[in-house]
């Protein structure tokens, strides 16, 4: 009796420690990653001012003298991300509403598995398909000299963010208690009115989370954008011109830099910029979710 009790205590203690250690470990890893990023990234600013880095329009890292201005890359990322968001958010939310509120059960199951399959396609594969189909289509439809544009990237990334947005938004909609819908319908609301006035507002914090995760996926995406946005490091006049994004720059150039050179450090500094952008998006999402929950 006494023994089994202390044995249980020991077991509890070990399990508790293990969970504690894993929690601590994940925090330590994040800190180490950030420290590494910061150490390498900030080394750049010994030689180049932050101002020139963030607002410089020329990105010629291997010319002499080199230029490390990432404004065009920031603008490129912004174009692609905003474009993808504008495409993916309305369609994603509308699909989620259709799947959870309108579709008959059989169609719902088919669509849900379809979305999961979509989410599982590696981005290289999507990028390749995009290069073969989307890029020529954009070129011909809009009579451009090249189909490798910010617009193609936005379409592609919108498509890639869709599964994330749909599946999380759909979960949020499904979690809305059925009795709200019943109440609305019993008051003579149409199905559409009950969705618009009751179900969507009740699910809004989950939908915001879905949108933010979708945008997070878009900003972090590398392979597909590298393959279809044209990678021209200049500020575009409109969305139908080639752009180069922050992520594509890091991925494309990391292999050819000399360790410890300014070029090498500048790629880490781009990493810091990406980190800060993602952090801000998460912050906004958190804020939106918590304000709603109050």
């Amino acid at each position: 009796m006494q023994k089994s009790f202390s044995q249980k205590r020991l077991q509890e203690w070990i399990i508790e420690r293990c969970i504690y250690m894993s929690g601590i470990a994940s925090i330590i890893f994040v800190c180490l990653i950030f420290l590494f990023l910061a150490k390498e990234g900030f080394s750049l600013f010994k030689n180049i001012s932050i101002f020139d880095f963030l607002l410089g329009q020329k990105w010629y890292p291997i010319s002499t003298p080199p230029f490390f201005g990432i404004l065009s890359l920031i603008v490129g990322s912004l174009y692609v991300t905003l474009g993808a968001t504008v495409i993916a958010v309305p369609i994603g939310i509308a699909s989620a509403v259709y799947i959870s509120e309108v579709a008959p059960p059989r169609v719902r199951e088919i669509l849900k598995s379809g979305i999961e399959v979509l989410a599982a396609i590696p981005s290289v594969v999507l990028g390749f398909i995009g290069m073969m189909t989307l890029v020529p289509w954009v070129k011909n439809t809009f009579h451009l000299s090249t189909g490798l544009t910010a617009f193609s990237g936005a379409l592609m990334l919108g498509f890639m963010a869709m599964p994330t947005i749909v599946s999380i938004a759909e979960d949020a909609l499904n979690a809305v208690p059925k009795r709200y819908k019943e109440a609305a319908l019993a008051l003579g609301a149409t199905r559409w009115q009950s969705i618009w006035r009751v179900i969507l507002p009740a699910a809004s914090s989950g939908i915001v989370a879905a949108v933010m995760l979708g945008i997070g996926r878009v900003i972090g995406e590398t392979m597909a954008v590298m393959m279809i946005t044209g990678n021209a490091a200049r500020i575009p006049d409109n969305i139908f011109q080639p752009v180069r994004t922050l992520t594509a720059t890091v991925a494309a150039e990391m292999g050819e830099t000399v360790r410890g050179s300014d070029h090498y450090y500048s790629l880490f500094a781009i990493g810091i910029v990406l980190f800060i952008i993602t952090f801000c998006i998460n912050l906004i999402a958190d804020f939106a979710v918590h304000r709603k929950a109050k």
Binding site: Y180, L185, A202
Partner: protein, 251 residues
């Protein structure tokens, strides 16, 4: 008595399960009619047939007639929005929307565009006064309805129906989530509402049926066993099965 709801040889099936069997019952206008019977006997099903809430379920089929105010509600041409404006429903578990108190009351007004925004204040006041919530909530119109007590929530659910100007209020065990004191308050409220509304209440509580209703229907396994003045049902039931149920032999 003039019947506002007539139910004629009404049958309802959930898939192949025969949930209501040849039910015939006339609900009188401006009276309170209660439906009693053991759990699972079809009380809620019958109530939901009156505003066609069973439509939300898949695989429900009906035959026979339910006539509300002279119109067969199962007619293909029946306007469900009009039907549900005429026949309001209060649910077992209070289900205010996760919106403010004011927005709950105004919900129907906004979806049906039945009043101009400048009338909103009056509508809120009148509706909340009718359910005795005004004095308690007039300074809290913008708090979330989910912060109210269960009794207040149920009252709000009744108040929310009033701007639609329904003729009939269906109440499915409206007090089962409430304590006895709150139950007493809701019963009192029903007495007040009776002047203007026809009320049909489902309850598993026989004392409640005896206290509040003018007519009582006893259902058992999907059959309407007996339907009469509440006084008569509780004193001289005609059917053995009613008597057994009322005397507590089963249920």
């Amino acid at each position: 008595m003039s019947a506002i709801i007539q139910t004629r040889n009404f049958n309802l099936f959930y898939g192949t399960f025969h949930a209501l069997k040849d039910v015939n019952i006339d609900i009188p206008k401006n009276m309170i009619t209660s439906m009693i019977g053991p759990s699972g006997c079809g009380k809620s099903t019958l109530l939901r047939a009156y505003n066609r809430m069973n439509d939300l379920l898949e695989d429900v089929s009906v035959n026979g007639e339910v006539i509300v105010d002279g119109k067969n509600v199962n007619d293909p041409g029946m306007d469900l929005v009009e039907l549900r404006k005429k026949v309001g429903m209060v649910f077992q578990r209070p289900n205010p929307f996760p919106l403010s108190v004011a927005e709950n009351v105004l919900f129907s007004v906004k979806i049906h565009r039945s009043a101009a925004p400048k009338e909103y204040g009056d509508i809120i006041e009148k509706s909340l006064k009718a359910v005795d919530l005004w004095d308690g909530l007039k300074d809290k119109l913008n708090t979330s309805a989910l912060n109210l007590s269960l009794e207040q929530q149920q009252r709000l659910c009744i108040a929310r129906l009033l701007p639609v100007k329904p003729d009939i209020l269906l109440m499915d065990e409206p007090c089962s989530a409430l304590d006895p004191i709150a139950t007493g308050h809701i019963e009192e409220l029903m007495h007040h509402l009776k002047a203007n509304y026809t009320i049909v209440i489902v309850t598993h509580n026989m004392q409640q049926a005896a206290r509040v209703s003018d007519y009582t229907a006893y259902l058992y396994l999907g059959n309407l066993i007996e339907y009469d003045l509440t006084k008569k049902i509780f004193t001289v039931p005609k059917d053995r099965r009613t008597e057994d149920y009322l005397s507590g032999k089963f249920g």
